[in-house]
C-alpha cells in the first residue's frame, strides 16, 4: 500500500530510497561518521544504523554550528542521506541540505514519525512537497 503526504518543499529535487526514522534529534557532527554514514552517537536510537542513501526522517537537528558542513561533506563523500524529512525546520539542517542539494521537506499534513517506519520505501519531491510512502509491510 502507498500513502501520500503533502508538505512544504524547501530544497528542490527528487529522490527515493529506504526510510530511516528517528524520533530523536540528530547531530551530524559527532553523531554520524562522515566517512561511512553510520550513526555513532552513543545511546542514540539510530546508533549503528547506516543513513547512506536513505531517506532520513527525524524531528529536527541538534548540535553545533558546523553541522551544515558535515551534511555537505557527507554528500560529497557519497555517505549522506538522499533526502531529509523534518517535523520542524531548524536552520542548521536546512542550510546543510541547501548547500548539499539534498531534497528537504517539512510541515507534512501528517506526522511523518508516525506514518513512516524505518524500512518503508519513500519517494520525495522537494519541488511539490509530496512524499509517497510505500509500506514495507501491510498495516
Amino acid at each position: 500500500m502507498s500513502i501520500v503526504l503533502r508538505g512544504r518543499g524547501l530544497v528542490k529535487g527528487k529522490a527515493e530510497g529506504e526510510a530511516v526514522v528517528s524520533s530523536q534529534p540528530i547531530s551530524f557532527i559527532g553523531g554520524v561518521d562522515p566517512n561511512t554514514g553510520i550513526v555513532i552517537e552513543k545511546g542514540h536510537e539510530l546508533e549503528g544504523c547506516d543513513i547512506k542513501g536513505k531517506v532520513l526522517v527525524f524531528p529536527f537537528g541538534k548540535g553545533t554550528t558546523y553541522n551544515p558542513f558535515a551534511i555537505f561533506a557527507m554528500k560529497k563523500r557519497g555517505t549522506g542521506p538522499v533526502a531529509i524529512i523534518n517535523v520542524k525546520t531548524e536552520e542548521i539542517v536546512l542550510t546543510g541540505a541547501i548547500l548539499a542539494e539534498i531534497p528537504f521537506i517539512d510541515s507534512l499534513d501528517r506526522d511523518p514519525l508516525e506514518v513512516i517506519e524505518s524500512g518503508d520505501y519513500v519517494k520525495v519531491d522537494g519541488e511539490t512537497g509530496i512524499v509517497e510512502v510505500i509500506k514495507r509491510r501491510k498495516t
Binding site: 558542513f69 561533506a73 560529497k76 536546512l94 542550510t95
Partner: protein, 412 residues
C-alpha cells in the same frame, strides 16, 4: 514570500556577482522557511568553519563569485595555536596536513574581509554592539550574552547562515529580531539563594539548572545580586543554551529593554519557578559525567577567558606546580594574551606548568581527546557538555586549580 528591497533583489538577481547571489538565495530560503516578512541590515557577523576538505569548494565558489563581507565580520577560533601548535593541535591531531587545511580554510574568510580575532569573545574585543543592533553570530554563549546583556538582537544561527549574512549584510527578520519574541516567559525566583558565598561555578550550575527548567522559553531572573560582574554574567549566559535552548534572558534593571519586571515580561504575567541551593548542587552532579577522582587535565576557556579571569588564575598558580601527570590549559584570544604576556600572567601560568592557549575552541571543538586524556576538570558547564571524547568533572576555578596541583578531584 519574503519582501526584498530593490538592492536585495539585485543581489538575488546576480548583479553583485554569483557569490552574493548564492548567499542571498540561501537567506531567502531561510526567510521563507521561517515566515520572515523582510530582511534587515546586520551590523555584525561572526563566522566559523569546520575542518572538512569539502568546505573548500564552497568558499572558493563564493570568492570566485566576488563575495566580500558587507558588514563588520569577526572570526571564531580556526584551530591553530601559533605558539603551541605541536602541544595543542586540533581535534584531528597536529599533522602538517591538518594545519595546512585549517590555514587554507581560514584564508578564505580573510580574503572575504574578516577581522581575524580567533575567539568567541569578539563582543569584548571591539565587536561593539548597542541596544537594538542586529547581529548574526556563531557561538551560543556570545549570542545569549549579546541579546541579554547588550540588548542587541540575534538568533542562534549556524555557520552557513552567518557567512551568508556577512556577505549580504542582511538577515531574515524572525525570532529574536521581533519584539514579541523577546518577552520573558518564566520567572526564576532566586530570592532564597544566598549569593554571598557564590562561586563562578555556582552561577554556571544555577544557569544550567534554569536552562533545563525553561527548555526553550526566555527566563526572567529575580533576586540576583544587584551588582553582577562581567564574569558572573558570562557564567549565567553560557550554560542556558547548553541544558536548554534559551537564546536570551532578562534581568530587570540590567537587560537594556527591561528596566522593570513588567517591561521584561511585556505586560504578561508568566509563571514563577523557585530555585534554591539544592537545585544548584544537583546541577553539579548532572554537569560532571564521572565520579572519578583522578584528573588528567584541567581546562578553563569556554567561553574564552577575560583579562580578570586570567589574572585570577595566575594569582592562584603563583609559586605552585601543576602535577606532572596533569595538563592545565587556559584558553583565550591572542589579543588578551598580549596583555597577559605584558602583565606577566602568562609566565606565571607557564612556570607552574600550565599553558595559555589561543585561537582554540575549548568547547565543541576542543582537542582534548587527541592528547589521550580521559578525565578533564573544568569550570565551564558548556565545555563539560560539548568537549568530545573525554569525561568531565565540574567545579569552581579554585577547585579546578587544586585538582591541577594535586591530580585529585576534591570538588563538590
Amino acid at each position: 514570500m519574503v519582501f526584498l528591497t530593490k538592492e536585495e533583489e539585485r543581489m538575488l538577481d546576480g548583479e553583485y556577482g554569483a557569490g552574493t547571489q548564492e548567499a542571498m538565495s540561501i537567506l531567502v530560503k531561510l526567510a521563507d522557511a521561517y515566515g520572515a516578512e523582510r530582511m534587515i541590515k546586520a551590523k555584525s557577523a561572526h563566522v566559523a568553519a569546520g575542518l572538512f576538505l569539502e568546505e573548500i569548494e564552497w568558499y572558493e565558489r563564493l570568492i570566485q563569485g566576488g563575495a566580500r563581507f558587507r558588514c563588520f565580520t569577526t572570526r571564531h577560533p580556526w584551530g591553530i595555536d601559533y605558539e603551541h601548535w605541536e602541544e595543542v593541535g586540533t581535534i584531528y591531531g597536529n599533522s602538517p596536513e591538518i594545519r595546512q587545511l585549517a590555514e587554507q580554510i581560514f584564508s578564505y574568510s580573510l580574503k572575504m574581509g574578516v577581522i581575524p580575532m580567533g575567539t568567541c569573545i569578539q563582543y569584548l574585543l571591539g565587536d561593539f554592539l548597542m541596544p537594538g543592533d542586529v547581529f548574526s553570530w556563531t557561538g551560543s554563549s556570545g549570542v545569549v550574552f549579546a541579546n541579554s546583556v547588550l540588548g542587541a538582537r540575534g538568533n542562534m544561527e549556524g555557520a552557513v547562515t552567518n557567512y551568508c549574512v556577512a556577505i549580504t549584510g542582511r538577515v531574515p527578520e524572525y525570532g529574536l529580531h521581533l519584539d514579541e519574541n523577546r518577552k520573558g516567559q518564566v520567572l526564576i525566583d532566586c530570592t532564597k539563594i544566598n549569593f554571598k558565598e557564590f562561586t563562578d561555578a555556582d552561577y554556571g550550575a544555577l544557569a544550567f539548572h534554569v536552562g533545563k527548567v525553561v527548555g526553550g522559553d526566555i527566563p526572567v531572573f529575580i533576586g540576583l545580586p544587584k551588582k553582577l560582574s562581567l564574569e558572573d554574567l558570562r557564567a549565567i549566559a553560557s550554560p542556558l543554551h547548553v541544558s536548554g535552548a534559551v537564546p536570551m534572558f532578562h534581568i530587570p534593571g540590567l537587560t537594556p529593554e527591561a528596566p522593570t519586571l513588567e517591561a521584561a515580561c511585556g505586560g504578561e504575567k508568566p509563571e514563577k519557578v523557585q530555585v534554591d541551593m539544592a537545585d544548584v548542587r544537583a546541577a553539579y552532579d548532572e554537569i560532571s559525567t564521572t565520579g572519578e577522582d583522578h584528573v588528567d587535565m584541567v581546562n578553563f576557556g569556554c567561553p574564552h577567558l577575560t583579562y580578570e579571569e586570567i589574572r585570577k588564575v595566575a594569582e592562584m598558580l603563583e609559586g605552585r606546580k601543576v602535577h606532572e601527570d596533569v595538563k592545565l590549559w587556559v584558553g583565550t584570544s591572542y589579543q588578551v594574551k598580549v596583555v597577559a604576556d605584558r602583565a606577566g600572567w602568562t609566565q606565571t601560568i607557564e612556570k607552574a606548568g600550565g599553558l595559555l592557549v589561543t585561537n582554540i575552541c575549548m568547547g565543541p571543538g576542543a582537542p582534548f581527546a587527541a592528547h589521550g586524556v580521559k578525565v578533564v576538570a573544568t569550570n565551564s558547564p558548556r565545555s563539560a557538555y560539548y568537549a568530545p571524547g573525554v569525561e568531565h568533572l565540574y567545579g569552581s576555578t579554585r577547585e579546578c586549580i587544586e585538582a591541577a596541583i594535586t591530580g585529585k578531584w576534591r570538588g563538590k
